[in-house]
């Protein structure tokens, strides 16, 4: 297929090899292997507690695996020792949280420009101009002076996406970004992400929105019990899963 040929040429941006991590006696990641190519959208699906969020936190260095390798671009994340090295990594990776985690004491605009000004050293004027463009892109141009507490969940999550994009990341990690939202606001967040993926932003999404995962992803990964059970194209995973555990999970959601 020409589509898959094209993706073979693209360089690998994220590579995980045999990643292990436990919290106390709880073995959360049991040898994860994962590859994300530049420009791809990869969705991670699977039951709760299968280590999906933990996996994302290993990629931006919020957590360090006990064993195995995490490589982002040329950076060996598993081997980073200093805070300065982790900061350099995190500047390149956007992270969007399930609970949005906006800064409640700052307005929407201040939330978006904080890191570009303080971390990237941008001029306030240009940072604000860019922030307004990003807010327009997530359809919140008129909310720049509002505080997060005045916004709906869906609006807050779109601000969180704008805040992540303001750092010009090479990669954005989405951690169940619609799980805390009211059903009627899920769509507005998903359409923002869909647009991002179409624009070629490399994205790794942990999600429970199966239809969305099927629609936007280049690749879908099914995890269970800290292991990757199966990965493949959305068509394969959702319509012709080879593994019985994947099949059971997909069917349970269908009904």
């Amino acid at each position: 297929m020409s589509e898959s040929d094209k993706s073979q040429e693209r360089q690998t941006l994220v590579q995980l090899r045999n990643v292990h991590l436990s919290f106390g006696a709880n073995h959360v990641l049991k040898g994860i292997d994962l590859k994300v190519r530049k420009g791809d959208a990869v969705s991670i699906i699977g039951p709760s507690g299968s280590g999906k969020s933990t996996l994302l936190r290993c990629i931006n260095g919020l957590l360090t695996p006990e064993r195995g390798e995490v490589v982002v671009g040329d950076t060996p994340v598993h081997a980073l020792k200093s805070e300065a090295e982790r900061i350099a990594l995190r500047k390149r990776i956007g992270f969007v949280f399930q609970q949005y985690n906006l800064f409640p004491h700052l307005t929407v605009l201040q939330n978006v420009v904080l890191a570009p000004i303080r971390i990237l050293g941008m001029e306030r004027a240009s940072a604000e101009r860019e922030a307004r463009e990003l807010l327009a892109r997530v359809c919140l141009a008129d909310k720049d002076e509002a505080y997060p507490g005045q916004l709906s969940g869906g609006q807050q999550q779109r601000v969180a996406i704008a805040r992540a994009l303001a750092m010009h990341p090479e990669l954005v990690l989405f951690d169940e970004v619609t799980s805390a939202l009211d059903p009627e606001t899920v769509g507005e967040v998903l359409s923002v992400i869909r647009q991002l993926v179409e624009d070629g932003m490399t994205s790794l999404l942990v999600t429970h929105e199966m239809r969305f995962a099927e629609e936007v992803s280049h690749e879908v990964v099914f995890t269970e019990g800290g292991e990757i059970v199966e990965h493949g194209t959305p068509r394969d995973i959702f319509h012709a899963p080879r593994n019985p555990r994947t099949n059971a999970f997909i069917n349970a959601l269908r009904n």
């Binding site: 931006n60 919020l62 805070e83 982790r86 900061i87 350099a88 995190r90 500047k91 990776i93 956007g94 992270f95 949280f97 609970q99 985690n101 906006l102 800064f103 409640p104 004491h105 700052l106 904080l114 890191a115 303080r118 971390i119 505080y147 997060p148 507490g149 005045q150 916004l151 709906s152 805040r163 992540a164 750092m167």
Partner: protein, 271 residues
């Protein structure tokens, strides 16, 4: 309580609109009218006593100046010291955490008056620095004696405020590339500020009223000045009038602080 507050931050605007409703008439107005009327009546019925009080007013004002000076310095020192100790209390290292906890427990469980006597006698009346003799007056010893329990109290307030900010805020800041100290400066402390403010103002009002204890170790502050005046004049009606004046002055100084706190609280409610 801390978790309630954290949750409250995430509730949408409708439920947070309530506390912003303002009373139409500030309670300052009836208080001011009441105090003014009382003193007008006194001036009318006890003309000579009030005239005598007016004669002693500069002396009392000097005393009050000392109370304000001690209270401002004590809360200032207490706040800086308390913020440091409160942060140390959260250290992961046992050898830092344990002494900080010990400090807080020691000074939170010490009667203020005993601490004042203690600091008065434990410090010398002057300090030698090389060939220089720096005086160490009693009012500074009192300031230290009030600053110590204040710092212990502030440390607890500050520690509670830091803990009440969810770890998700640290995570979000770190994910944007902020260092630990940048996260503290730009994300965590500004949120703590709002939570620390009401107890801080409370403490300041308490410290201010405790400055009258300084009269017991011979510092000439308002209460001591009042005693000088009453002992000199030696008339019961004048004595009552002087203490009423002292109470009025403390009220006029402390009450606006609590009102101001309420205003600030509304201002930093983040809607």
């Amino acid at each position: 309580m801390a978790t309630d507050e954290a949750l409250a931050l995430e509730t949408p605007r409708e439920s947070r609109a309530l506390p912003r409703a303002r009373p139409t008439l500030s309670p300052i107005v009836p208080w001011a009218v009441g105090i003014a009327l009382t003193w007008l009546a006194l001036a009318h019925f006890h003309r000579d006593s009030v005239a005598m009080l007016w004669h002693w007013a500069p002396h009392l004002a000097l005393g009050l100046r000392m109370n304000v000076l001690i209270s401002v310095l004590a809360i200032g020192i207490g706040t800086v010291l308390g913020a440091v100790v409160g942060a140390l209390e959260l250290s992961r290292c046992r050898w830092i955490k344990a002494p900080a906890r010990g400090y807080v427990h020691a000074f939170r469980n010490a009667p203020m008056l005993v601490l004042l006597f203690f600091t008065t006698y434990v410090f010398p009346f002057e300090i030698h620095v090389g060939s220089l003799y720096l005086p160490f007056p009693d009012w500074i010893k009192v300031t230290v004696g009030l600053a110590l329990p204040a710092s212990a109290y502030i440390a607890e307030v500050f520690r509670g405020a830091l803990l009440s900010i969810t770890s998700a805020q640290w995570e979000a800041a770190a994910s944007l590339g902020l260092s630990r100290s940048q996260s503290l400066r730009w994300v965590i402390l500004p949120q703590c500020f709002k939570r620390v403010l009401p107890p801080w103002m409370n403490l300041y009002a308490m410290i201010t009223m405790s400055t009258t204890l300084a009269s017991l170790v011979g510092v000439t502050e308002l209460l001591e000045s009042a005693r000088n005046a009453t002992n000199t004049v030696n008339r019961t009606d004048f004595t009552i009038l002087v203490y009423l004046a002292v109470l009025t002055l403390f009220f006029l100084y402390c009450y606006p602080i609590t009102r101001f706190t309420a205003r600030l609280e509304r201002k930093y409610a983040f809607h």
